[in-house]
């Protein structure tokens, strides 16, 4: 979709990837694009190599229950040379949220994707070591999902409920 603004990166992105860019806009001064799950790896590789977005500032998950598609993965990219930022959002369905890893493009994504997996249960296809990073291995479920019971405690030692 062609953006209704004059952000050069968003225009180039829409020209290059066409249908894979579902929405693009300027949200409170930041360039934001909603992209199709299948195109994540290609788009980010292209932004990194052609548009100098050499830094992955953050990668995180969001749970929008009860909306469907329920989950979002948000990528914040930063072009160090000119101080430009772009935010990419990918919407994923609730049944088996899965998206391609970008840990081969940005080594920092390794731990960020593990955190997103740990907290939201979003699978990053192709990740070399997708296991829990904050919670302990015996922990069941993903605590930042909105349907994780707020009272549920899973201590390693001490009283359980």
């Amino acid at each position: 979709m062609t953006p209704d603004n004059d952000n050069k990166t968003l225009i180039a992105l829409a020209e290059k990837f066409g249908e894979s860019v579902i929405e693009s806009k300027i949200d409170r001064g930041d360039a934001v694009a909603v992209i199709a799950p299948g195109a994540v790896h290609d788009i980010i590789a292209w932004l990194r190599d052609q548009h100098d977005f050499k830094m992955l500032a953050d990668l995180c998950g969001v749970d929008y229950l009860p909306r469907e598609p329920r989950f979002e993965v948000v990528y914040q990219l930063h072009a160090m040379g000119r101080g430009e930022r772009i935010r990419l959002r990918v919407q994923l369905g609730g049944k088996a949220p899965e998206v391609a890893t970008i840990s081969d493009l940005y080594p920092v994504a390794d731990w960020l994707e593990r955190e997103t997996w740990d907290m939201f249960g979003i699978v990053f296809d192709g990740h070399p070591n997708l296991k829990r990073i904050l919670m302990y291995e015996p922990f069941e479920g993903h605590p930042l999902r909105r349907d994780y019971p707020i009272e549920r405690r899973q201590p390693l030692i001490g009283p359980r409920n």
Partner: protein, 158 residues
């Protein structure tokens, strides 16, 4: 004062063994600071010169639990670190005391969530609870003095 001396004619003192040991012990506390979070800042101010925990004989932190007799649990305890806290406690020799420093250790504080232990007394026995987020050094000093009373007046093992 726990030592209740009775000065005799020839300048001798009579007391009970329990009392004299308690009196010695209460001024010879070796804390092990188990510092995990923001309360550690207050612990630093407490143990440095301005508030001077040394006045209570409790200034010299030992960084191995085997040489300590007071476990200062300072900061939020997550479920992930709880087994380590228990292990540190078990490594300390008797007699030993535990001080819960800050609301996080007393009850979990405002971290009423999946990650935080809701009071370290679910894991180890606690002698003194010091509330506050973080507690003022004066509050901690009061807690340490209460612990001293407890040490001095308790039954002593030797």
């Amino acid at each position: 004062m726990a030592l209740k001396p009775l000065l005799g004619d020839d300048n001798f003192v009579t007391t009970r063994l329990d009392q004299v040991i308690g009196w010695a012990r209460k001024f010879s506390i070796f804390p092990y600071p188990f510092v995990t979070a923001c309360c550690g800042m207050e612990y630093m101010s407490l143990s440095s010169s301005h508030y001077d925990l040394d006045r209570f004989g409790a200034a010299f932190p030992r960084f191995t639990p085997r040489q300590a007799d007071m476990l200062f649990v300072v900061g939020t305890i997550s479920h992930k670190i709880a087994p380590l806290l228990k292990r540190v406690y078990e490594q300390m020799c008797e007699p030993k005391w535990v001080v819960a420093f800050g609301v996080c250790t007393c009850t979990g504080g405002f971290y009423d969530n999946y990650a935080t232990v809701q009071g370290i007394d679910t894991i180890v026995p606690v002698d003194v609870y010091i509330p506050g987020c973080p507690p003022r050094p004066e509050t901690v000093i009061q807690g340490v003095m209460m612990l001293q009373e407890k040490i001095a007046n308790g039954k002593q093992d030797w």
